[in-house]
Amino acid sequence: MARIVFTANLERHIDCPANEAEGATVREALEAVFRTNERLRGYVLDDQSALRRHMAIVVDGKPLRDRVALSDPISAASAIYVLQALSGG
């Protein structure tokens, strides 16, 4: 299962420890996490379920390419980091 780590600054607002989730894409893995932590969704995604403008995701060392559909493929060994972009703060 892919490993998903959330920025520590999110912990100040909402409980979101590192998680493991199954899925073929970033979207599928994140949705698996959100199913058990619905409030977290709104901190990471906007009303249209796209990545928030000032958030960033890194998958296996590379920035997310599809910020709207989150369709970047992942493997069971992937590491997904959900971070704050250096903007908007």
């Binding site: 409030r39 709104g42 958030m55 704050q84």
Partner: protein
Amino acid sequence: MSDRLVVSTRKGLFTIERSGGAWRVAGADFLGDNVTLFFHDQRSGHDYAALNHGHFGAKLHRRTNGRWEEIAAPAYPPKPEGLIDRDGWGKDIPYSLINIFSLEAGGPDEDGFLWCGTIPGGLFHSRDHGETWELIRALWDHPKRQQWSGGGTDWPAIHSICVDPRDSAIVRIGISCGGVWETRDGGKTWACRADGMFAAFLPPEMSRDPNLQDPHCLVQSPSAPDRLWVQHHNGIFRSDDGSASWREIVDVPPSSFGFAVAVHPREPDTAWFAPAIKDERRIPVDGKLVVTRTRDGGQTFDVLREGLPQSHAYDVVYRHAMAIDESGDRLAFATTTGGLYLTEDQGDRWREISHTLPPAHAVRFAP
């Protein structure tokens, strides 16, 4: 009189309390976070705080029996595939909550009913104390909504909501930039009500279009509800017929530009403003922080400065950052440079409560 004042700032929500004749900072909530609005619902006793995190979006919190909890924030519906939805300047409108920009109670007969104005121009209501929110489709889907534009923000902002004290189904809202809109049936139908306003910054053929106006703040007299005041980008306007028509108030010293306006709870001719140099500079005239007051409906104004900084003051008072209590004697305002000032005699004399708060978005009195 209200002995509690709540200040929403860039770095937290501050409660100021009066004790022994002095006003002191009594506590802070959400310290370090950007609190954009506070609202106390007298019907239920709930407090509400709107936050806007730089990265994580706009959120809403409710305090019940002293405990804050995050509740649902208004959310925009899915944007239909292929829909082109642009503002008055041709920019694509995001179907996403950018900011919570106004939050008010429904009428006293509408327990749990709240109105919420947002950026990018959606008006929402809740029937359950903010547990769930519903977009007012009649306004969002109105074809004239696409003529609105941002004014000081990237997108249209619903900043003022006035529920008519005579009939809770009559609601007027102020939009930057979209004029004043009115519903007389609880939100089912809407009409623009800004005839008489003008916007000198627009081409002449557009300047008097009611739907393009930039009212910065709209308030309604509680004692004479057909009287409304607007601090507009272009000056001060007054309506005596429930927003059907507006006329400009002229010859206002030292400036008629500003953002905030407050009206006396029982004297519709008495109102206060916080002037600044129009409009690109947006600093107090001559570096002197003053409040203006009219007691005769805008024919004449007092320039109130006793107790306010009169040298190198560069404070701006945002549209939600001046408040009056139910007595009509106490007013307070907070500024972009962290000043908080209060009067107990309708503005004749002011006292500085703090000059070290974070930049202030909003001020409210609370019980």
